[in-house]
């Protein structure tokens, strides 16, 4: 295969760049974080209550940047709204459907945040001054209802919205998987398991991100003592559970494909053992899947001390965040490297300073974190007195 290496002349370079690698990554973090909040709000998992609100703001901070890499990638970003105004529902195009699902999910998430924070913001508004007061006025839609009846209604509405949000968040990310999984032209993408793998890996990255940032923020603000051991433990177990299925489906996809051994598989195998060898086998599978899997098993099943959880938890979360990023790379770039000529590999070497290069990618991955910091100035991230009043 390697000596022949012929690719069609239009396919020599991968067309979808790092931008399309981080787009499903960012979407995944959104979907995963939302699942944590839904577990608290809909299924009343008590241990997750302390991070229920944080999960929503965390999801929002990433949600705002879902379209950034996409718009940066478009050849004509000024026409981006064509996706909403002339969506191709005849094809139907999966990508145009994503536009609507993303919009619906954005509205739902923002509305849910407004509902859940309504009472708290109304209280904060009273003591706020200047710009902050204006912001609070806008976010509470100019209302000042402090009654208990109003707060009870809020939690009922929030429950319904979170319940609607679960399938919506799942379809948001399942859809991203569908965008890849439905393309018969690329052997490496064309599998019904793709949406499932994307959804599960999304949950993994979201939960891992939550653990990392929960402990990280508390540590940086010097309030590590406030971190609840039980919350971390439950999140670690949740992470493990999702990762078991995520890794399982990744392996099932791979092994069924390999066992089938079609002509297409030979091309896939050559790529996995060739240009993708390091990023797939070494990083995604060995270092960032098997190792975290074992660590998570240990953390979940045995009695470990609080300090072990607080140190190993963020490390293993970071590893899984990296695993998902490598997985996105191996899917998006890998699929394009397996050229359609079926006789060779395309190339992709991202530059540091180009329009869709490494620097821009880093900026886009850091931007949600900065946004989270800004949002934390407006929305109190953690469970407050008034939340506890309502639940007890």
């Amino acid at each position: 295969m390697d000596i022949l290496n012929y690719v069609f002349p239009n396919d020599i370079h991968a067309h979808w760049t790092l931008m399309i690698v981080i787009y499903p990554y960012i979407t995944g973090v959104v979907a995963g974080a939302f699942i944590v909040s839904a577990l608290a709000h809909v299924f009343h998992v008590k241990a997750l209550m302390p991070v229920a609100k944080f999960a929503l703001i965390f999801a929002l901070s990433w949600l705002l940047f879902v379209t950034a890499p996409l718009i940066n990638h478009l050849g004509h970003p000024e026409r981006a709204l064509n996706m909403l105004f002339t969506p191709n529902f005849v094809g139907p195009s999966m990508m145009s459907g994503f536009g609507y699902i993303y919009m619906a999910y954005s509205i739902l998430l923002i509305f849910e945040i407004l509902v859940i924070y309504r009472y708290e913001l109304t209280i904060l508004k009273k003591s706020a001054i200047g710009v902050k007061k204006v912001i609070y006025c806008v976010l509470t839609l100019g209302t000042n209802d402090e009654s208990m009846a109003g707060r009870k209604r809020d939690s009922k509405v929030a429950f319904v919205m979170a319940a609607i949000g679960i399938p919506l968040a799942c379809s948001l990310h399942g859809y991203v998987g569908f965008i890849f999984g439905a393309l018969k032209s690329v052997e490496w993408w064309f599998t019904p398991l793709m949406p499932i793998i994307f959804l599960l890996s999304a949950s993994v990255s979201g939960i891992a991100g939550m653990i990392l940032f929960y402990i990280g923020i508390k540590k940086m603000t010097g309030k590590l003592a406030e971190v609840k051991t039980e919350t971390i433990k439950v999140m670690i177990q949740l992470l493990w559970a999702f990762f078991i299925f995520d890794f399982l489906f990744e392996l099932i996809e791979l092994s069924v494909h390999a066992y089938g051994g079609t002509e297409g598989w030979h091309h896939v195998a050559a790529a996995l053992n060739g240009p993708l060898d390091w990023s797939f086998w070494t990083m995604q599978i060995k270092l960032l899947s098997i190792v975290p899997f074992l660590i998570l098993m240990w953390l979940s099943l045995s009695k470990v001390s609080r300090s072990t959880l607080l140190i190993i938890g963020p490390i293993v979360s970071f590893m899984l965040l990296a695993q998902v990023l490598f997985m996105r790379w191996n899917v998006v770039i890998g699929g394009q490297i397996m050229a359609k000529s079926e006789r060779g590999f395309a190339v992709y070497h991202p530059q540091f300073f180009e329009k869709e290069g490494i620097l821009v990618t880093i900026i886009m991955l850091v931007a949600p974190i900065v946004t989270l910091w800004i949002l934390s100035k407006i929305f109190p991230l953690w469970e407050s007195e008034c939340d506890r009043e309502l639940t007890h």
Partner: protein, 268 residues
């Protein structure tokens, strides 16, 4: 025998003499401006032709055929295509691949610069004895079930009622989904317009009753274009004959309207 040899030798000299004289006559013909008085009145100005096509006309069933056994790999089609459609350098609406198969059945394929410069030099990197070699021109397959049309999020690429897959470059957002979806690699994001682009079988020429630029340029008639519903057309005659036709990546179910005559199994 000796006499014969002499005769041939003498004849060869005469041959060359005449050739040289003849060639001078030929060259002179080139140097005299041909019918220069006629320059004032040119009847058919090709740039001023008007489209006669009715997009709703479904009576025609256009098909493209490539006779692999006839292609000499001169690259004229690619040159014509680039100029006809202002295709940027390094991007290809059509290209010609060279297949070489050695006695161990190893298939070597190359297409330097899309074959545009013509294959006037043989491949030198093949050590084994060659058992077969041929050229395969590639272009849009104009699928009955086009993947690109299915995936376009803004319906900028579509199939016209008369069967042509076109790209509305004033509506395209250049997301590149069609580039990924096309199994044949014929799509690209045009570096000049920043929109998706691909071969249209020269819809603008067909609409004016002309053949596609590449078909017009092909010196051996290896590229054929016509209406399958017209029994007199060359493509219909081939289509209705015993000739074995091949479409690319048949298993994908795109049902191309681009057929290959004499193409090997190895052609992808």
């Amino acid at each position: 025998m000796k006499i014969d040899q002499n005769f041939i030798d003498k004849d060869r000299r005469g041959f060359i003499e005449k050739v040289v004289k003849g060639s001078i006559a030929g060259s002179l013909m080139l140097m005299i401006p041909m019918n220069s008085k006629l320059f004032a009145k040119v009847a058919g100005d090709d740039s001023k032709l008007v489209s006669l096509i009715d997009p709703k006309d479904k009576a025609k069933h256009y098909a493209f055929m490539v006779d692999v056994t006839g292609c000499i790999g001169c690259g004229s089609c690619c040159v014509a295509d680039r100029k006809e459609n202002s295709v940027p350098q390094g991007q290809y609406r059509t290209w010609v691949e060279r297949y070489v198969i050695d006695i161990y059945n190893t298939v070597y394929v190359d297409s330097p610069e899309g074959g545009e410069k013509g294959y006037s030099k043989p491949r030198t990197d093949i050590k084994e004895k060659i058992k077969d070699a041929f050229f395969v021109p590639k272009l849009c397959n104009m699928c009955e079930e086009p993947s690109c049309v299915q995936v376009c999020p803004v319906a900028a690429t579509f199939k016209s009622p008369d069967g042509f897959v076109l790209v509305d470059n004033s509506h395209c957002v250049a997301c590149g989904y069609c580039v990924q979806a096309c199994p044949y690699g014929v799509r690209f994001i045009n570096n000049d317009t920043k929109t998706a682009d691909k071969c249209t079988w020269c819809y603008h020429r067909i609409s004016k009753g002309k053949l596609p630029a590449c078909v017009n340029a092909c010196p051996t008639g290896a590229r054929k274009f016509g209406d399958l519903n017209d029994p007199k057309s060359e493509v219909a005659k081939i289509y209705n004959s015993k000739t074995v036709l091949k479409v690319l990546k048949k298993s994908l179910g795109n049902e191309p309207a681009l057929f290959y005559v004499g193409a090997h199994e190895e052609v992808i």
